[in-house]
């Protein structure tokens, strides 16, 4: 109800032709400038939630309040950056043009952008600037999509498993850049990931989702900047274990079909 | 359907009028195709054929005739006859036989029904002299008929100064003033314009001393040479039908309407038939059979073709027209029909 946070209330969303709702009364609050990770079983509605936040689909019921305005208003201000789960590059444009896109589209909004070359260097693709998407490896495409989202230095950054196709070191490097961006600007980040470790290393809060709902919110009380030691230290471990335990619960509860689990933990 | 040739549903109380041998020979030829000049229009050389079929006269001479509607393309029909796809087709006049010959189509005329040009030139009502057309536009259907060209020449018109365009078959281009003169058939466009209530002036070639012809029945000479009796009997049956239709125009037009599937303008067609058959009557000498070929007239008509540059020289006309088929089925001016005797 106030302008300094994202507030999502009783969000319900069913896709036509689907019996289970993708979102079933989800509540979420994210204060401005917070880095929030969403984690949850496959198919629990993370991407759908991100799409609702980006104004790409509208919920059947419930309200979405983004810093006092709505998703569309925020997009209008060119304040939203989206990294979709599939890279969604323009196949007919070079890497460079794909990254330059946000700067070109809707110039009126006139938001400053980093230079494209810097961004490309940041994601390690300077040498591929003139390649086309079909000439790239999967991870390279993902990096182009990330660079494109960074280009706007958005107020709200929505990232759907952005690092899933990257090796550990590239991932680490990009994580650092993401944190940089987040700290320099008053960016609020909603970050979907499947890596508990990554969630703990990056975020202020980890939101564990169960199908259609928020299962539990786990605060990450670790000092910043978090060096390698902080991230691998016992505190981080404890938090990660908590997250993992909740995730396990969410997973057990959510799997409509009994999963073959030789450990018999259920 | 238009292609039905036996029409079993029709009354056929006409007795066979040829001897058995001839009947058998005709029947052995199988189905013969007659392709009309333009659709099922009730013109001379068309209506009597359709009526002969309907009245059973072809049956009476043991011919199986299939009537196919043409699309108005005379040379296309000539090609069909040359190629043996069709056996009989009408041409608008004798000059077209010469033109077809010039174009290497193998057809000859076996009967010419009209001995005046049927083409006429239509202009607006205020044209008083044909020379007024100089610098104006003249519309025609694919080409300016030779008699009209000759008429214009006779009238002292500089034809090169007239802009000629193809105007299609809709005469309303004239009252619309898209063309200032329109070539037509005197049996057709005038009726249409009358029906529209438009005013016009009709210019007739014979008034300028131009001779001509209309309503020619053509066949493939090679095939005719091999089957003279079939050609004779075709002319016999159609001649008989002509006699009938001359007095019963409405009935015959109704036969034509029967064939049509796409909407028939009965009134207009009756007008066409009446004006054309009347012209046939008035231009045929008393003592000659209807359809007789007068090569001296043909020669003169060909001369106009040469004058207007359509032909380089008058060809040898003998091989292009063969009156013997028609003569074989007439005694004097009367058609030979066994029933009558």
């Amino acid at each position: 109800m106030s302008g300094d946070r994202i507030e999502v209330r009783a969000l319900t969303k069913s896709y036509p032709g689907s019996d289970r709702p993708a979102l079933a009364g989800l509540d979420l609050e994210v204060p401005r400038r917070r880095f929030v990770s969403l984690i949850g079983p496959s198919g629990c509605g993370k991407s759908t939630l991100l799409r609702v936040l980006a104004g790409l689909t509208s919920p059947d019921e419930g309200t979405v309040d983004l810093f006092g305005s709505g998703p569309r208003a925020l997009c209008r201000a060119k304040a939203v950056g989206l990294v979709p789960q599939t890279p969604a590059l323009l196949p007919w444009a070079t890497v460079r043009r794909n990254v330059a896109l946000p700067g070109r589209v809707n110039r009126r909004a006139g938001r400053g952008t980093d230079t494209v070359d810097e961004l490309l260097e940041g994601v390690g693709l300077a040498h591929a600037a003139r390649s086309y998407p079909h000439q790239l490896s999967g991870g390279m495409r993902q990096r182009v999509a990330i660079a494109r989202a960074f280009a706007l230095r958005p107020e709200l950054l929505l990232m759907d498993e952005p690092f899933s196709a990257l090796d550990e070191f590239t991932r680490e490097s990009l994580q650092l850049q993401l944190l940089d961006l987040w700290q320099q600007r008053s960016t609020t980040v909603v970050f979907v990931t499947h890596s508990v470790q990554e969630a703990v290393a990056l975020s202020d809060t980890v939101v564990v989702m169960a199908p259609g709902k928020v299962h539990r919110t786990v605060p990450v009380d670790l000092p910043r900047p978090r060096g390698t030691s902080a991230v691998t230290g016992p505190d981080a471990r404890t938090i990660a274990d908590t997250v993992r335990a909740h995730l396990r619960q969410a997973w057990d509860g959510g799997a409509a079909e009994p999963e073959p689990e030789p450990t018999g933990a259920r | 359907a238009g292609c039905s040739s036996d029409g079993d549903d029709q009354e056929r109380d006409v007795a066979v009028v040829v001897d058995d041998e001839r009947c058998e020979a005709n029947a052995d030829l199988g189905t013969l195709t007659y392709v009309t000049g333009y659709h099922y229009q009730a013109s001379v050389t068309q209506l009597e054929v359709m009526s002969a079929e309907a009245l059973g006269y072809f049956d009476a001479v043991c011919l199986d005739i299939e009537i196919q509607p043409g699309n108005g393309d005379v040379m296309g029909n000539a090609q069909l006859v040359s190629a043996g796809t069709a056996h009989f087709t009408p041409t608008s006049n004798e000059a077209e036989i010469l033109q077809a010959h010039e174009r290497d189509h193998d057809i000859i005329g076996v009967a010419t029904y009209g001995h005046v040009p049927i083409s006429s030139l239509l202009t607006g009502p205020d044209v008083e002299d044909l020379t007024e057309l100089e610098g104006q536009t003249l519309g025609h259907q694919s080409m300016l008929p030779a008699p009209l060209e000759a008429m214009l020449t006779e009238a002292g018109v500089d034809i090169d100064s007239i802009d000629q365009v193809e105007a299609g078959y809709d005469p309303s281009v004239l009252p619309r003033d898209q063309v200032q003169a329109l070539a037509g058939f005197r049996s057709n466009e005038p009726h249409q314009l009358d029906a529209m209530g438009e005013n016009y002036t009709e210019w007739l070639p014979e008034e300028f001393g131009v001779v001509g012809s209309f309503g020619v029945m053509a066949v493939n000479p090679e095939w005719a040479g091999e089957n003279p009796e079939a050609v004779e009997d075709f002319l016999r049956a159609t001649g008989r039908a002509f006699d009938h239709c001359a007095d019963n125009g409405e009935e015959c037009v109704a036969h034509a309407e029967e064939l049509d599937e796409a909407g028939y303008d009965t009134e207009h067609n009756l007008a066409v038939w009446e004006s054309e058959s009347e012209l046939v009557g008035s231009s045929t000498p008393e003592d000659r059979p209807r359809g007789h070929i007068d090569l001296s007239l043909t020669e003169e008509e060909a001369g106009t073709l040469v004058d207007v540059g359509e032909l380089e020289e008058v060809p040898d006309l003998e091989p292009l027209f063969d009156p013997q088929y028609l003569e074989a089925v007439h005694t004097a001016a009367e058609i030979v029909w066994a029933d009558d005797q």
């Binding site: 109800m1 106030s2 302008g3 036509p16 104004g55 790409l56 689909t57 509208s58 919920p59 059947d60 309200t63 979405v64 309040d65 006092g68 305005s69 709505g70 998703p71 569309r72 208003a73 | 359907a1 238009g2 292609c3 195709t33 392709v35 659709h39 099922y40 299939e66 196919q68 509607p69 043409g70 699309n71 108005g72 393309d73 296309g76 029909n77 090609q79 069909l80 190629a83 796809t85 299609g168 078959y169 809709d170 005469p171 309303s172 281009v173 009252p175 619309r176 249409q192 529209m196 064939l259 049509d260 599937e261 796409a262 909407g263 303008d265 207009h268």
Partner: protein, 280 residues
């Protein structure tokens, strides 16, 4: 001062309870037919204005309507004649093109050999060769069917050929590791992938087949019936009301055909991007 958006509206009608959608069929809704209705009405007014001024260009609509109503059987019969020719023609033309496109996509030799010849056929104005076609095929329906088939052949060939090549690479990879035969790849991957193109071609070619049949009736000797013959004869006698009544029949046939293709598209292409919710 907070704004809440219940339905942030680019996809606004997602938010509507789904019941609403199913109760009133979409095509009954004014939103669907109003624009057409309004434009048609405007055109009708303009038409009438022209018709009053220039009776030789357009007939009055009332007359056309009267003509249609007076002799419905005349139009129905001729429409059926034309439709029959068109359907046989498109079946042969589009069917042949489809099969040939399959062959071409599989056998490069066939493509290289036949494509130039298909192009030559495509640019040959059929009206020019109808006399030869009548000589070759006789007076019946055959030459008209051939004309229709020739006209509808090429758009299908081109679109299906393009469609058959538009398969995502990774899917082909999977089939290749399964050692799928070319036939299987064709049937299970290429054909379904080409559907959007094939249906677009059908949309073009079904109405075109009607035009083909009409043109054939126009120019081929031996046409006793059919809307084309009717139009030709009525035009020659300046019966514009008949001409446009016949054209109205043709239009009705064309619109029906397109509606059928659209229905087919809904059924067959539910998975394709082009059929996803337009508001996404």
């Amino acid at each position: 001062m907070s704004t809440t958006e219940h339905s942030p509206s680019p996809a606004a009608h997602d938010a509507r309870p789904p019941r609403r959608r199913t109760r009133v069929p979409a095509w009954l809704h004014p939103r669907t037919w109003a624009p057409t209705a309004v434009l048609v009405a405007l055109l009708a007014v303009a038409w009438q204005a022209v018709a009053r001024e220039h009776p030789y260009i357009l007939p009055e609509l009332g007359e056309v309507g009267r003509t249609l109503v007076e002799e419905p059987s005349l139009f129905l019969e001729n429409a059926w004649t034309t439709l029959f020719t068109a359907l046989i023609g498109v079946l042969m033309g589009a069917g042949g093109a489809f099969v040939l496109a399959l062959l071409m996509s599989e056998l490069d030799v066939v493509r290289r050999a036949l494509m130039p010849i298909a192009v030559v056929l495509n640019v040959t104005p059929v009206v020019a060769i109808t006399p030869a076609l009548v000589v070759a095929f006789g007076f019946g329906m055959a030459p008209k069917v051939v004309v229709t088939a020739l006209i509808t052949f090429f758009p299908v060939l081109i679109n299906v050929t393009t469609g058959l090549r538009s398969v995502p690479g990774p899917v082909l990879d999977v089939f290749r590791t399964l050692h799928a035969s070319r036939l299987e790849v064709l049937l299970r991957v290429r054909l379904p992938s080409s559907l959007p193109y094939t249906l677009a071609a059908l949309r073009v070619v079904l109405p075109l087949s009607i035009v083909g049949a009409v043109v054939a009736e126009f120019v081929a000797a031996g046409s006793a019936g059919g809307l084309g013959t009717m139009i030709r004869n009525s035009a020659a006698t300046a019966r514009l009301d008949l001409v446009y009544a016949a054209i109205a029949c043709l239009a009705a046939m064309g619109v029906t055909m397109l509606a059928l293709v659209t229905a087919l598209e809904r059924r067959l292409l539910f998975w394709h991007e082009s059929q996803q919710d337009p508001a996404r």
